[in-house]
């Protein structure tokens, strides 16, 4: 045997010893980014069919009122206009809601926000559709609008929906909070508020529909959850599900709104138009349309009260959060649940009383957005921790060390933390990396106009859907004659690389190289419904589906390889596209030989994997129990520099450590730490979608500020901690959402440290800092 072959076998054996972990933990290139980098036509607007009509949506011009009449005659006179759609054109049920049936697809009787869709104009080109949309005359009988959720909660307030203005009241009650406060030496109270944040995926929501010859309708669009769009469209069109084929095109960012109700709206409107005109219809959304229509992060007002002993032990925490959902509830009824489960921070506190209210107003609606209630909750709780520390004359880090969750401690809902609680490691590592203790000392000595400060914030994050739905997934794997592996699932890729991560898991198990994998475009008729692609669940839940499918194929591959190698099935090792017998490693067969043999002998290399997470048990009345199967943990330190005279500040450095259980692909995990943090820094420092009289004042990227490359901290240190969780494949936990949560409180606390000023509302603009200092 030549040296070369020997070396190769040695390498293969080393890899094989790692078994299923073959490629787990390696920063391999993702399998789906080459086309993107080459600029190939892969996004929805790049692949429109010929003869497509363009639809322009017409929104309500008033925030609250009855529709008296809709007159489209002038628009229809335009020779380029092919149709105008209104609620009268909906063949099925005119409803496009996710949870509570409170939102029509096209406004019929009533409008409740300026984001409501009243009509859609279909024309040969978008310019003509846009121009004609201005010729549609809609008469309204206005009703008194409400824009303040506190007003909306008052008795006698005008009703936005007949069932009342509070869409959901969520409680978490543990122990006796009154007694807890009585036993406390120190009590702090505060009110914390947050704003509407827009997700701003760089590609707005888009969809087109094509009427097929067999009577089916095909919908292609930018979305997170094709099966949700499928069922919404089927309902609106009164079609069986089997006639609605929804394909997710390559999607240019999503962050939540593309899982909520907007993709259903677009798919349904395109489909109605396509069936009506017999031509493909593309619902084009401008940036303005998108920012007005899709769901935003809920603004919140949180009254928080915390009681502690003189030596800093937390005894009681009471939270009352008003979350404004705008005109419709969408997924807000679940957002408020997650917010309440996390409202007291990542601490053990014996007495808790949380009341969360999801409240309607006549602003445009809020709903799904990365973080899902956690950013609001942790801004309040982590801000208050620093106020408490100040009152206790204690370092905020020390106060956290005393109270934070560790193995053996219990959350607000009484859920027990086991060995998978990596919060202490996260805190330890982020404190070390940031030189926190040294900086606190140094910065205490500062005078002059420029001041530095450090702030810390920590979190726990209940993984995946938990109380938000049944957490199941299907993953299809199919090896073709050429040895290419097709991975398909109802879960979607929209930027994170998580679907490529599923391929990485499958390739580890099957023993073939990752670059053999191709990702099927998710298709509602081809792939089994796998729940929504939300809650960062692709790796933690979807990964188990990929693992299941890969293990099934691996068994078959082993059988085939055993025949070729003339050995026992149990002796077969397949690694890096090569199979050999552990008892006679000199003889080897390649991947393609195995695949060929499988095809010849009728062994199917096509299978479906399945996984369903264990049910989470909790009490609906008290909120107590174990709503999540596992948790992600994280800690961040922000280092800021503040100009005292102007309140202008910058985040100079940011350090973050996350316990992600097991990083399947560390580079992609860091991609989430970077991206989530910067989106969180936008939320913390500059982003705010402003409504005035129910109208969005800044639905554009000129005045809705998202961070540019010149706004990011000069220094950013991402740290991965791995304390394997209970359910994710190889211990993986979710990572996409949690990083967005910490910048708000970390920056706020750093400014407090630098200046002594407490800014309790997001975004922390320079003006707010200046106001705190010049009261």
């Amino acid at each position: 045997m030549s040296m070369e072959v020997e070396y190769l076998i040695e390498q293969l054996q080393k890899k094989a010893e790692r078994g299923e972990l073959l490629y787990i933990g390696e920063s391999l290139n993702r399998v789906d980014d080459i086309e993107k980098i080459l600029g190939k036509p892969i996004y929805t607007a790049d692949i429109l069919p010929k003869q497509t009509l363009y639809a322009k949506l017409v929104h309500s011009t008033i925030p609250h009122g009855y529709i008296r009449s809709i007159n489209a005659a002038n628009a229809l006179n335009n020779s380029k206009v092919k149709a105008v759609l209104t609620y009268k054109d909906v063949p099925g049920i005119n409803e496009s809601s996710a949870v509570i049936p409170d939102r029509p697809l096209f406004a019929d009787r009533k409008v409740r926000s300026t984001g409501d869709i009243v009509a859609a104009v279909l024309a040969n080109d978008f310019r003509a559709a846009t121009e004609a949309s201005q010729d549609i005359k809609i008469e309204y009988d206005p009703l008194k609008p409400i824009f303040d959720p506190l007003e909306a909660m008052k008795e006698g307030a005008p009703l936005i929906h007949d069932a009342g203005n509070v869409a959901k009241h969520m409680k978490v009650y543990k122990g006796d909070v009154q007694k807890g406060f009585e036993a406390s030496d120190i009590i702090v109270e505060g009110t914390y508020s947050t704003q509407f944040q827009d997700a701003t995926p760089m590609e707005p929501e888009l969809a087109y529909a094509v009427p097929k010859e067999n009577g089916n309708i095909l919908i292609v669009g930018s979305m997170q959850s094709p099966h949700i769009t499928q069922s919404g469209v089927a309902k609106a069109l009164n079609l069986p599900l089997s006639r609605v084929e929804v394909i997710q095109a390559v999607t240019g960012g999503a962050f939540g709104p593309k899982s909520d109700e907007t993709p259903t709206d677009l798919g349904a409107i395109a489909a109605i138009g396509a069936l009506k005109t017999g031509r493909p219809v593309f619902v084009n959304m401008t940036r303005e349309d998108s920012m007005i229509m899709h769901t935003k992060r809920h603004p919140s007002i949180t009254k928080l009260k915390t009681g502690a002993t003189a030596d800093g032990k937390l005894i009681a925490s009471q939270a009352e959060m008003i979350m404004e959902t705008g005109a419709y509830a969408s997924l807000g009824v679940l957002v408020i649940v997650r917010a309440m489960f996390h409202a007291n921070g990542a601490y053990e506190i014996p007495n808790v009383k949380n009341d969360g209210y999801l409240v309607y107003t006549n602003n445009t609606f809020a709903g799904s957005f990365r973080g899902f209630g956690a950013p609001q909750a942790f801004f309040a709780s982590e801000s208050q921790m620093d106020e408490l520390a100040k009152k206790l004359n204690m370092d905020p880090l020390d106060l956290r060390l005393i109270n934070m969750l560790r193995p053996g401690k219990r959350t607000s809902t009484n859920q027990l933390m086991d060995a998978a609680c990596g919060l202490p490691e996260c805190v330890e590592q982020v404190v070390a990396a940031s030189n926190y203790r040294k900086k606190v000392k140094e910065y205490a000595e500062q005078k002059g106009n420029t001041r530095r400060g450090v702030g810390i914030a920590i979190l726990h994050h209940g993984n995946a859907l938990g109380p938000e739905g049944n957490d199941y997934v299907y993953v299809h794997l199919n090896v073709d004659r050429d040895g290419i592996v097709y991975l398909g699932t109802g879960l979607t890729e929209y930027g994170t690389g998580a679907i490529s991560g599923l391929a990485q898991i499958a390739s580890s198990i099957m023993g073939c190289k990752l670059d053999r994998f191709r990702i099927d475009r998710p298709n509602s008729l081809k792939h089994k419904e796998s729940g929504p692609t939300v809650a960062s669940r692709t790796t933690a839940i979807g990964g188990n589906g990929a693992r299941d499918a890969a293990e099934k194929l691996r068994d078959r591959l082993n059988t085939v390889a055993a025949k070729l190698l003339d050995c026992m099935t149990s002796e077969v090792v397949i690694v890096d596209d090569i199979a050999y017998s552990s008892s006679a490693p000199q003889k080897r067969v390649g991947w393609n030989e195995i695949v060929d043999e499988a095809y010849r002998s009728g062994v199917s290399l096509n299978t479906i994997g399945y996984y369903m997470a264990p049910r989470c048990i909790w009490d609906e009345h008290t909120g107590l129990g174990s709503p999540y199967s596992q948790f992600t943990f994280g800690a961040a330190v922000a280092d800021v520099e503040v100009d005292i005279d102007t309140g202008v500040y910058s985040v100079r450095s940011y350090y973050v450590a996350f316990d992600v259980g097991r990083a399947v692909n560390p580079r992609n995990v860091k991609g989430q730490l970077y991206g989530g943090t910067v989106q969180g820094l936008g939320y913390a420092t500059m982003e705010e979608l402003v409504h005035k009289d129910g109208r969005v004042l800044n639905p554009n990227l000129k005045d809705y500020y998202i961070p540019t490359s010149l706004d990011i901290p000069e220094e950013f240190v991402p740290i991965i901690v791995e304390k394997g969780g209970a359910i994710g494949p190889f211990g993986a936990k979710v990572v996409a959402e949690p990083p967005i949560v910490l910048p708000g409180p970390a920056v706020r606390n750093a400014i407090l440290n630098a200046t002594g000023w407490s800014v309790d509302s997001l975004p922390i603009t320079a003006e707010k800092v200046w106001r705190e200092g010049h009261k």
Binding site: I34, G671, N700
Partner: protein
């Protein structure tokens, strides 16, 4: 009314198209010439995703009327490599995980190419400055900066 004859070069190829006075360069590239790498992220000149080079300088094709390109040379990502394999610059982006959703990637590539044409070993702040008119919502920009630094290291 497509009554203006636009003659220009796109990725080295001479093109002749009749355009409407209101057509933007972005519309001509995407809708007439099937060049889809420039994206419309806002249509108001605020996101940078429609960036192409016009006579060698990166500009926003959504803020340029088509007729303004007459006699000029336009380059898009389709013209940067052979269209099949990744160039070293593109490979560096891939290796750094710089393309997540990928929607800003073509514009970033135009900006990065322009920078490397002018500056040999760009610093972090030069790179950030160069891409500061192009918004990315996925990566937080760090992997892009890292990729650009790698490109130069590889060429050295």
């Amino acid at each position: 009314m497509k009554d203006i004859l636009l003659e220009f070069k796109v990725n080295g190829q001479p093109k002749k198209v009749y355009v409407d006075p209101n057509d933007r360069l972005l519309d001509v590239l995407r809708d007439y010439l099937d060049i889809k790498s420039p994206k419309e992220g806002c249509g108001t000149g605020d996101c940078g995703l429609c960036t192409v080079t016009l006579d060698g300088k990166p500009v926003l094709s959504c803020l340029t009327f088509a007729f303004q390109a007459r006699g000029k040379e336009v380059t898009t990502v389709e013209g940067l490599g052979n269209g099949k394999e990744l160039s070293p610059m593109q490979q560096a982006l891939r290796d750094a995980g710089a393309a997540q959703c990928g929607f800003c990637t073509p514009a970033m590539e135009i900006m990065v190419t322009d920078l490397l044409k002018r500056v040999d070993n760009p610093t972090d702040s030069q790179i950030k400055e160069q891409i500061s008119g192009t918004l990315c919502r996925c990566t937080g920009y760090y992997p892009i900066v890292e990729a650009v630094k790698k490109i130069k290291e590889e060429e050295r």
